[in-house]
């Protein structure tokens, strides 16, 4: 699905090159849920900018769907760190934005949109404007918009990062509940260890100063539910990961 080989990137707009990513390699298989965890400033969002095609790598290669190309814009579903819902559009109009851009037929997708609005708990709010929504609903709207790109690979940049712990918990429950039906591949950024373990099949740990990228497999079975965080197995994984992060 996605392979990133020995990728390096630095921001050069300030004159001197500021190395953000150095020799990063990751891979994601179809249907996997993979998280990238790391402290802020470790270059997670930059990595997404590179994969989505907004930035081009300095060194290394990004192989999408088996193809190595510079033209990656419009090939993945990207949910940015800020929700970036257009304030002048209603929930429904925000969601259909990717369909408008790709000149897809709304008529054909109407059924699908209706179904997902219900699954996302947004069907009563489709006429609302973003500022009338709670934080959790805004994130779900942004997530649904990303889903509507129809792309198989979704890049989610800290989708629950700004939510309070209660809302976050219910979002986890909800996401685990729809994951099997979603039928997508997800690359997920977070700085919340518990969230990463609960949701992912694999985790990459990005370290800011060592500029390295360590892979960790999560052997929890699916389907999962948010109760998993109290199991012995979960705590063991969590302990070993915390040691890694230190």
């Amino acid at each position: 699905m996605l392979t990133v080989n020995e990728l390096s990137y630095s921001f050069t707009d300030t004159g001197v090159g500021k190395s953000v990513l150095d020799n990063i390699s990751i891979h994601v298989q179809a249907g996997e849920f993979v998280s990238i965890i790391g402290e802020s400033g470790s270059g997670k969002s930059t990595l997404f900018g590179l994969i989505s095609g907004l930035l081009q790598p300095e060194q290394g290669e990004i192989i999408l769907n088996g193809k190595l190309t510079h033209q990656r814009l419009g090939k993945v579903g990207y949910m940015p760190q800020k929700d970036l819902l257009l304030p002048w559009r209603t929930v429904l109009d925000n969601i259909i934005l990717p369909i408008e851009i790709t000149k897809g037929s709304l008529e054909e997708k109407k059924e699908g949109i209706r179904k997902w609005l219900i699954r996302f708990g947004l069907s009563d709010y489709e006429k609302f404007y973003p500022h009338e929504l709670s934080g959790g609903m805004r994130q779900r709207t942004a997530f649904l918009r990303t889903l509507m790109t129809g792309k198989n690979l979704l890049l989610l940049d800290e989708p629950f990062g700004a939510l309070d712990s209660f809302t976050k918990r219910s979002m986890h429950e909800w996401l685990l509940g729809i994951w099997e039906d979603l039928n997508k591949t997800v690359l997920f950024i977070t700085h919340d260890l518990e969230e990463a373990i609960l949701l992912s099949d694999r985790i990459y740990v990005l370290k800011r100063f060592e500029k390295s990228c360590i892979e960790v497999k999560i052997p929890l079975s699916r389907p999962r539910c948010s109760e998993f965080i109290y199991t012995q197995e979960f705590l063991k994984i969590r302990k070993s990961l915390e040691r890694l992060l230190r």
Binding site: L54, L73, P80, L84, L86, W88, L97, I101, H131
Partner: protein, 255 residues
């Protein structure tokens, strides 16, 4: 409904009270001959003059001025938007147009009006030209500045969806620029009334500016004030119309 009535009173009440108070003091001081009535006629005599001259004032002069304002406004909106968009899309055009824009605003109107009269005579077009010259400037600038609000994050998001430059212009830049543009529109409509009046002063056979100048020559202070009153009323009403349109367009969007 009741609530909105209350908030109306709250927001406009002080202004109305103040106006009434000033009107009373004004009336009183003219009656007591503290201020001579040929310098400042009393509100009641202005009203009388308004009623006395109502036929020419409303049917001839107000109509003539309104026509100049509307034509000048429509022209400046059309040309202003086109110039603003051209400047937005082409750096080269921006470099060419911008100096001319600034020059057009630094020429004293009084100096350039005789030229317009030479070109267009005493027809409506000499007045429209002055109106246009004043009003198109805020429209170009507000269109250009509004489109400059790039909303980089939004644009990047659309790019990842596979958008082209035209998509981003339509779906991000126009909606983002709209508030700035509408502010420019409000400014322009007020300038239009000013422009039309100046145009009429400098040479016309009808219009409120022409009428007030004639009355000033005749030392008919109350008729002159009646015309000035109508002019400011016209400006206020046009401004309110644009404000209402603005509110309709931006209704629910901003926090």
């Amino acid at each position: 409904m009741k609530d909105s009535c209350k908030t109306r009173i709250k927001s406009y009440g002080p202004f109305v009270l103040m106006t009434i108070l000033i009107g009373c003091i004004w009336e009183w001081s003219v009656n007591k001959e503290i201020i001579p009535s040929f310098i400042l006629p009393a509100p009641t005599s202005i009203l009388q003059a308004l009623i006395e001259h109502r036929e020419v004032l409303f049917e001839v002069h107000l109509l003539a001025t309104l026509k100049e304002v509307v034509i000048g406004f429509v022209l400046s909106v059309i040309v202003g938007i086109m110039l603003g968009i051209c400047m937005h899309f082409s750096k080269a055009l921006e470099k060419i147009i911008y100096p001319f824009l600034v020059i057009s605003q630094t020429i004293p109107l009084i100096a350039i009006s005789p030229i317009f009269i030479m070109w267009f005579g005493y027809s409506i077009w000499s007045k429209v030209a002055v109106t246009f010259l004043i009003a198109f400037f805020p429209i170009v600038i507000s269109t250009y500045d509004g489109l400059k609000l790039r909303g980089t994050d939004y644009s990047n998001l659309l790019l990842t969806m596979g958008a082209n430059r035209w998509d981003i212009f339509k779906k991000i830049q126009i909606p983002m620029g709209l508030p700035t543009f509408l502010s420019g529109l409000k400014m322009a409509i007020v300038y239009c009334v000013v422009g039309a009046t100046i145009g009429e002063w400098l040479g016309a056979s009808e219009g409120l500016g022409y009428f007030s100048r004639r009355m000033s020559g005749n030392m008919e202070a109350d008729a002159l004030f009646a015309a000035v009153f109508l002019l400011s009323l016209l400006g206020i009403i046009l401004f309110l119309i644009i404000s209402i349109i603005e509110r309709q367009i931006l209704k629910k969007r901003y926090y």
